[in-house]
């Protein structure tokens, strides 16, 4: 009799637990989740990542790499990019030779405010991938475009020349380094390089992302060219970008595919907008 009561109690407890679980799951499903991308929510300390990979640092690098690769760059915000930067720095520490890691870091991180992390990843890749000139090319471009330091960029390009096995590649690197040194920073050169990197990428979201970045730079170049013409014509700078349309130098202000728009710095020179609220 007592045993039957206990068994009935256990069944009752099981049914109640199941109901509570189902109800909780149902309620949770309707509630908003965490703000950050789930795949980039957490960046564990490096040793924790190595231990979770059974002490295997290569596996730790790959596991972190998969998290970076499945992140949807079109829906990420600054906090997500900060986590991605930490993850990619960790991967560079676990396995600095990892090709995807330096490539993605170069293509995404500096464009989203993570220039230091990108520099770290590219430096580690340049040191470790002694057979490959690509990391030095991206490392040089980072100095050229984001640090506005063409001289250091050119020096890095030239240090990649002995690694290039193709003579055409060697000439291209030397030629580019010469252009950087002679002409300094130019938006059109930067746009051309991002277009070339996009062209070299496998088809898909990643290539489209780079093409958008290149198109933005190309639009910025057109704005800057128009401002130069405006100055030559009127002997003064523009106060608003719309002045270029009024003067007939542009049919319309380019539409920024990222929605951030373009703005003017304090000297009246066109710059990329860094937030959707940039005034024209």
């Amino acid at each position: 009799m007592k045993g039957r009561r206990v068994e009935s109690g256990l069944w009752l407890a099981a049914v109640l637990s199941l109901c509570a679980y189902g109800f909780a799951q149902n309620r949770l499903y309707g509630l908003p989740g965490a703000h950050a991308q789930p795949e980039l929510l957490i960046s564990l300390p490096r040793f924790a990542q190595v231990l979770m990979a059974g002490g295997d640092r290569y596996l730790a690098a790959n596991l972190a790499g998969f998290r970076v690769l499945v992140a949807d760059t079109e829906r990420m915000d600054a906090a997500d990019y900060a986590v991605q930067a930490r993850l990619q720095s960790d991967i560079a520490w676990f396995n600095p030779v990892h090709e995807d890691n330096f490539y993605i870091a170069a293509a995404i991180l500096p464009w989203n405010g993570q220039v230091d992390a990108a520099q770290y990843v590219l430096r580690k890749a340049s040191e470790a991938r002694t057979f490959d000139w690509y990391p030095l090319f991206h490392y040089g471009f980072l100095h050229y475009h984001f640090r506005r330091d063409p001289a250091t960029g050119a020096k890095l390009l030239l240090s990649g020349v002995p690694r290039a096995t193709d003579v055409q590649d060697q000439w291209a690197l030397q030629n580019l380094a010469a252009v950087w040194i002679e002409k300094g920073y130019q938006t059109g050169t930067a746009a051309g390089m991002v277009e070339a990197i996009a062209e070299d990428s496998p088809p898909g979201n990643f290539r489209r992302y780079l093409q958008v970045r290149a198109a933005r730079l190309r639009d910025l170049q057109h704005l800057q060219d128009a401002v130069t013409q405006y100055r030559e014509r009127y002997g003064k700078g523009v106060e608003r970008l719309d002045d270029l349309v009024t003067a007939g130098l542009l049919a319309a202000i380019p539409q920024d595919p990222l929605g951030y728009g373009f703005g003017l710095d304090s000297s009246g020179w066109p710059i990329l907008g860094s937030s959707p609220a940039v005034s024209k």
Binding site: F47, Y58, N62
Partner: protein, 267 residues
Amino acid sequence: MLEFMSSGIRSGLRGKSFQAVLVLGVLMIAIAYLSGFFSPRQPQTVALDVGFSGVRFSLILMNLFWVQDLVAREIDRRVILFSLAYPVSRTAFLTGRFLAMLVLSLLATVLLGFLLLLAVLLAGSGYQQEFAVDLGLPFWATVAGLALDAAVVGAFSICVASLSTVSVLPLALGASFAVAGKALGATLDYFARGADGDQQLLGIYQPVIELIRWVVPDLSRLDWREWAMYGLPPGCETIFWSAIMAWSYIALLLVCASLLFARREFS
């Protein structure tokens, strides 16, 4: 000793746990193949990288289960009394069991190696990556290094089994040893590079790590995958001394296990 070895090979192949881990190993190779799809520029390299990690994981688990089946469980069930009733030394029993584990491990290594080879070839069939992986000597040398790594873990597990009264202890401690030995390289590297400038961490842990590295071998030294993946060979000297380190540590563990086992009393 050869009797113990051949009986060990037979029962090792029959063991359910071995068969389960073999299935797990095959699954891991499949995961390695799929992981190649995550890589935009180096699918074969990523498949190979994940596959090497899977092979190591599987080989270590297999060796640990074999030690548990062939040594620890025999002690636990008192079956060992029949084995020790023969006029042979206890050292012969342990050495025979270790050799059985080694032969089984080599068979599993060759099998998983070929499966991984196939997975990598299939992973890269749709895309020509700029830096090709080397699936010749560097590949097999890496697989051999992983097998040696697993053999060290197996020897450690035998040493634990020789004095343990709980059959699951060799498995648990062996797995911990495998993780610690493999992570030691990353830890040493971290401290060698100044621990990100954390002087307090360096002050507290560096002396401990310096001591531990003499007790626990750096198993990451037996991982030569960069040779196959990126064409960066570890150097003959590194391979030679890594192998010497591993084999001498195995010998040391087996001698310790024999000494401990010889003094053990079975009631």
